[in-house]
Amino acid sequence: MKNNFQNKWVKAVFYILVFFLLREWLLPVLELTDTNYLSIFLAFIVLCLVFSFFSVPWWLSGPGKLLYIGWILVYIYTNEVFFTGEAISFLYNDFITNTSALINRDWPAVTDSFRTVLFFSLLWMTAYLIHHWINVRKNIFLFFFMTVVFIAALDTFSPYAGDGSILRVMILGLLLSGLLKVIKILDQNRLSVSSEKYGSLVIPLIIIVAISGSIGYFLPKANPVWDDPVPFIQSFAEGAGSGLSGAGGIRKIGYGEDDSVLGGGFQSDSTLVFEAVVKTGQYWKIETKDTYTSKGWEQSVASNEIRNYTAGDIIDTGIPTGPVEDQDMAQYTFELPYPFLMYPYGSVVANAQEGTSFSVSTNTQKIETYQQNGNAVELNEYEIGFSEPTYSLTALRETSEDSLGELGAEFDRYLQLPETLPERVRELAQSITEKETNLYDKAKAIERYFPRNGFVYDQTNVSVPTEDQDYVDQFLFDTKRGYCDNFSTSMVVMLRSLDIPARWVKGFAEGEQMQNDNGDRVYQVTNNNAHSWVEAYLPGIGWMPFEPTIGFSGAGNIDYDIEQDSTEPPEEQVVPKQPSKPVKPNAADNKSISERLTETMESFMDWISDNRGRIILWSLIAIAFGIVMFRIRNKWMPKLLVPYYRLRKDNWHSFESSYHRLLKQLSLYGISRNEGQTLQSYANYVDGFFGSKDMKTLTNAYEKGFYGKKIESQEWLKLRESWENLINRTSG
């Protein structure tokens, strides 16, 4: 059979195209590894291709390539231009070093020059493979496809931008595949054409590739429907949604200073912070923050007054206190001391070791502890006398919106809201509270809004707002899933949108109730109890705590000084009490890999449980699709089978398997063989059905091979033709 590759010109075109295709592999590798010397590697590819183009025998081309590699090594690593004695000894030593490193499996010891050699060998192999694909298989599609995948993967997962590259690859690959296909068709039909004739044959192909390439290039391209998968995969692995840099990811719970970026899941931490001996459980307040940034909380530098007290002084925290006769004591023992107090509502007096002084910031209500010399001190033990404030329900119900206008300018910072706050947050606050006439009930309505409207308490699957998203807005309208920071911040923002002064309080929830040796109640407060809640200012009442977080119940005491038959049931426990799981992520995390793995698994399981509906839906769709595809498989299978069996070798085994495949297809088509029917009688039936003789031909050949064991030297090509005739009919 005449080979159309005898025409050198045609062959040269292929090798040039292949060279450019290989170049697309080389470019990103060198760019990403910061390797220079592109021209040297390209020259090597040229060398390989030239050798195979001229069919240089291996005993000549092999040493030639080796010589080139050796020379390049010398040139790069020793700056010698020729094989001087020095250069040769360098090569020799390098060879010895690397050989021993390889034998000893001392991988780090191999030198850069050896890596270069390996890279050269890779190029060598690739060039050989392509030579094989072009000359023998006459099918470059696999390589073409792999190139596209390679460029796409690099473009996605590495800094390499494959925009231009992918276009060049597409054009080159389509041209190569098409040109080769023409050659293949010519060869199959035993035609041999001149290069001019070949050129004119492929003109339509080139035109189509050119047109489709340029249309593809100039058409507007839609933005990716999916986000860049890399950050998504990373953030998903870390258990959070799409995230802002620096935030997101899982943090550890506990008290932290920085609240500028809220959101994201966190990990529980049951490290004991302190134990407090006290009769009833209290919310342990640390400080408040006043400025909402749409991502988190910051503290304004408004007029701050520092009031200094010494131990035993009556401390004014700006919160109403209860009557003196109800005063109670809380005795703290710290495991993790902080340089400030964690005080219950209604605090009046603090006692600690001799010489301790306290400074209260009116700005944040943080009570910091100092020694006499003015240095901050972390107290291990102290006690606080307090009298819990009690709020009269009657008085609370007398508060009205009108009184809000009379508030002084010092409350402005508690009404601050970011300009970017979406209008729907305000509208929501309005609609929640429009039926209520007094400020207290409005605040209560917001507090109760969450448990009644499908909000979920969750510490792990909490998203971080994206750049143009508002933290509160995201929680209220999108995710409805979060922990105390979400609930408290949302309530503060909604209160403020109603012009009710409100601030965000940080501290610890009451902790776990225990008993000490003396039989006193002890509350153990761990990092898990870190918490945030809300204080609202009601004119005529003062600052009052609210607890919007689902599962927590720690609002101020209400004195139901009106009859219980009031329309408002007292203190509804809307949500069953959960163990106080607090919520203030701490920045630091040094988790081991196994922990991360567990987290990833957990978040994955959570993701599954959260998206169960969708997963089931999609699975059903996928199953339905699968069933449909399975039912109509006789329609599309032949399209796959024909090229598949073309790729296989022409021998008995291929024929046998293709014959059985045909039987299956035929029975799918609706003409099936009865179990007691012989192949011959079935073949007659099939041929009668299609009006052909192909099945008889195939069956005779099959019986000859199967029952007669004559599996050699049948006319495979003719048989395949018959087979393709039939299998294509079954898809009709």
């Binding site: 059985h660 039987l663 009865n674 179990e675 007691g676 029917q677 012989t678 192949l679 011959q680 009688s681 019986e703 000859k704 199967f706 029952y707 007669g708 064991k709 004559k710």
Partner: protein
Amino acid sequence: MNNQKKIHAIIDNIEKVMIGKRNIAELSVVALIAQGHVLLEDVPGVGKTMMVRALAKSVSAQFKRIQFTPDLLPSDVIGVSIYNPKDMEFHFRPGPIMGNIVLADEINRTSPKTQSALLEGMEEATVTIDGETMKIPKPFFVMATQNPIEYEGTYPLPEAQLDRFLLKLRMGYPTHTEEIEVLKRAEKSAPIEELTSVITLDDLILLQNEVKDILVDDTIKNYIVDLANRTRKDSYVYLGVSPRGSLALMKASQAYAMLKGRDFVTPDDIQYLAPFVFSHRMILRSEARYDGITPEEVVERILAKTNVPIKRLIKQ
């Protein structure tokens, strides 16, 4: 002349006198080549004898005929030693069984004793007289006939003896046009007299030896045994096909494959031959008779139900 051509020459030759009975001629030749014997069951006058004579003439074999009657003795079949007073010794006078092709006409008319003498000869290809065992010359082919109509005064062959026949065939009446053709040919002279042989006896023996080289794939053997097994389990069957029956089917199929010009057996051969090989080897239950089921129908049903081997379970 290759084997297939030889066989076809015989059949064509037979067809000269037997009009429209090519399949019977084929099957008879198959039995001859497979060294089996044929039981022809049909009414008189459809050409059974003509058939056998034509066959014998075609292969230039010696033709003998035994007309069985109730008073026939074994010695009338196998021969007898007669005392010759001249040399004062017994001399064996061979009976009609000592021929190449023997027509045993109306075999069910004779006593079981005589029947068994014939059947022993068929099975062993030897006869024993006065303690002396003598080989029957090869090739040896018996075509026995029996008349299914007249049962009076007959001794039906026991099943164990029917087993000795490779095939049981039925001639059937010729069609209208065929019968006219029969008349035409017999108008002037008996066509059988004009028949000449087409192969020699040695050729026939060669065929009988070469048929053993026809390949029977393991899957085909498996298929045969499957079929035989199913006859043993069939609800209509009281006694199924014996292993001798399986063996017979295999041998017959080899010969049939040779006739078809193949050197391997296909399931088509098996399916074609199974009714002829199996149906006389089975005893049906009385239910089958009430339901009007014939042995042939049972075999057909089994063939339809048994998986034809088209795939090797274990790749070779």
